[in-house]
Symmetry: C2
Subunit: 300 residues, 2 copies
């Protein structure tokens, strides 16, 4: 039992911006290590065009080989009907559709406007539900846009309301895609989201690009979050800030939650070991701090 779900997004968002391509074998081992550590929801694959995102190639093969255990749920990122068809054929347990909150980011990242991403997400949720699998819609750049700057929280809550009314996904995720947010924004967006999408569980996605990611995650939890995204080792980064760190790290988040008396059901040391393994596979230093600093108290 856990007080909050940690969703391991390393296999998807963690790898997506890394230069070194992992093999299918390596991706399967990475996912297996997360599951062995006790993670029960894994964003394992992305059903996007592998020519656009080479790191996400081989999604079907990965899904054929991941350990299928009771209580473990695999999420596939899906942008449209074509992606959903691949997801259904791969027997993912959940799909995560993406709405982009600003026109400029949407056109550059998805090649279409905000309204198109909303319409596509609504369709994905409807069709996924018809196929019997769980659905999330993630609102990207909800805290700020690298191209157009500030994003109005009222605009985000309008998107939330539209998604709740037209799609009623099983979960709404708010994403600080470029790592600019602060806890005051989290509190505000959590309150607005609860008002506009009452009863829909909130999932949050933070990057630690400017050292606010962990404060944001803990604030989201206090504000009623049911799930938090994190990435083993904190790999990832952002194509708009080449030297910046990536997702908040699963092991550092579990440390903070554990010391706060929040149960995750996850073994921190196994995450640390998985991060070291992944660092070797990517030939990169591990951005997470727990592996360097050590657990506290040391004997744990």
């Amino acid at each position: 039992m856990s007080d909050v779900q940690l969703i391991e997004v390393g296999p998807r968002d963690g790898l997506q911006n890394e230069q070194t391509l992992l093999s299918v074998d390596e991706k399967v081992e990475f996912i297996g290590r997360a599951v062995d550590a006790g993670v029960r929801r894994v964003e394992a694959v992305s059903f996007v065009n592998p020519r656009r995102v080479p790191q996400m190639a081989g999604a079907e093969e990965v899904m054929e080989r991941v350990p299928r255990l009771d209580g473990v749920s695999y999420i596939g990122l899906v942008l449209n009907r074509r992606g959903l068809d691949r997801a259904l054929a791969s027997a993912v347990d959940e799909v995560n559709a993406v709405v982009v909150a600003t026109e400029e980011f949407s056109r550059r990242n998805q090649g279409c406007g905000v309204a198109d991403t909303i319409a596509a997400a609504v369709d994905v949720v409807r069709d996924a539900r018809a196929a019997g699998i769980a659905t999330t819609v993630t609102i990207a750049v909800a805290f700020g846009c690298p191209f157009t700057g500030e994003v109005e929280p009222g605009w985000i809550s309008d998107i939330v309301a539209r998604l709740a009314d037209e799609a009623a996904p099983d979960e709404i995720a708010l994403a600080d895609t470029i790592g600019v947010g602060v806890p005051a924004q989290v509190r505000d967006l959590a309150r607005r989201t609860a008002e506009r999408a009452p009863g829909i569980p909130q999932r949050w996605h933070f990057h630690n690009t400017r050292n606010t990611g962990y404060a944001n995650a803990l604030t989201a939890l206090e504000s009623g979050a049911s799930a938090l995204d994190a990435s083993i080792g904190g790999f990832g980064g952002c194509p708009f800030a080449p030297a910046a760190t990536g997702n908040i790290a699963s092991e550092d988040l579990v440390y903070a939650l554990d010391r706060s008396g929040v149960t995750t059901g996850i073994e921190m040391q196994r995450l640390v070991d998985a991060a070291q393994w992944l660092g070797k596979a990517l030939d990169k230093d591990v951005p997470a701090l727990l592996g360097r600093a050590g657990a506290f108290p040391a004997a744990r």
Copy 2:
């Protein structure tokens, strides 16, 4: 005017554990850069034995040459009467005395027991007050000890009460010396401290060793902190965790505060520039993230 005081502790705690020794010239430039950025309290020097802490040598020469401006207050760390005499001769504006919360850390770090550090701090405060300068007592390892693990919050508040009763310093600082704390602990200690030392302003000192430092700082502010320690560039580290990061970084803290609508009176970009300068002087990468990721919105 500012909503919270940022105390630049880089010249003291930031440098203290760095291998590369800075010259007096470099230390004076470092302090001048912090003041130019708008910092109004600087922990500039430590009056400890320079044979024990070589990085802190030359405190008197540093204090002779720092810019003396209206509204800028220089703090000297002081462990005993000998240190206080040096501090008074150097015309510091404030002294910071240190109490260590656990016996083992106290004996290894100060060479005496907890009760001795309390008695010494009480004496330093009394004598400094008699000399007309402001006083802080910092309680080190208030969130956990690298040798003996957990530290009971009730024990910390007993120390707080004793300091309030016997010394009544102008400020009490609670220090997470080894970077193990979480926001729930901050809230608990802030409440206990306000109860046991009513009316004495609270200052907090966090390290980001396990990625909880910024969450702790923001929580301290919400819990009534009047001052937060931070170090330009986030240099420092911990002798007990050689690969760990140091103090929370001034620029990253100012970013979080600024985006939260909290005024500090400090120009973030000048801190970023100072951190780059310091990184060159120490021949080290800057641990802070803001210089890598860039401000947001970009045009600010």
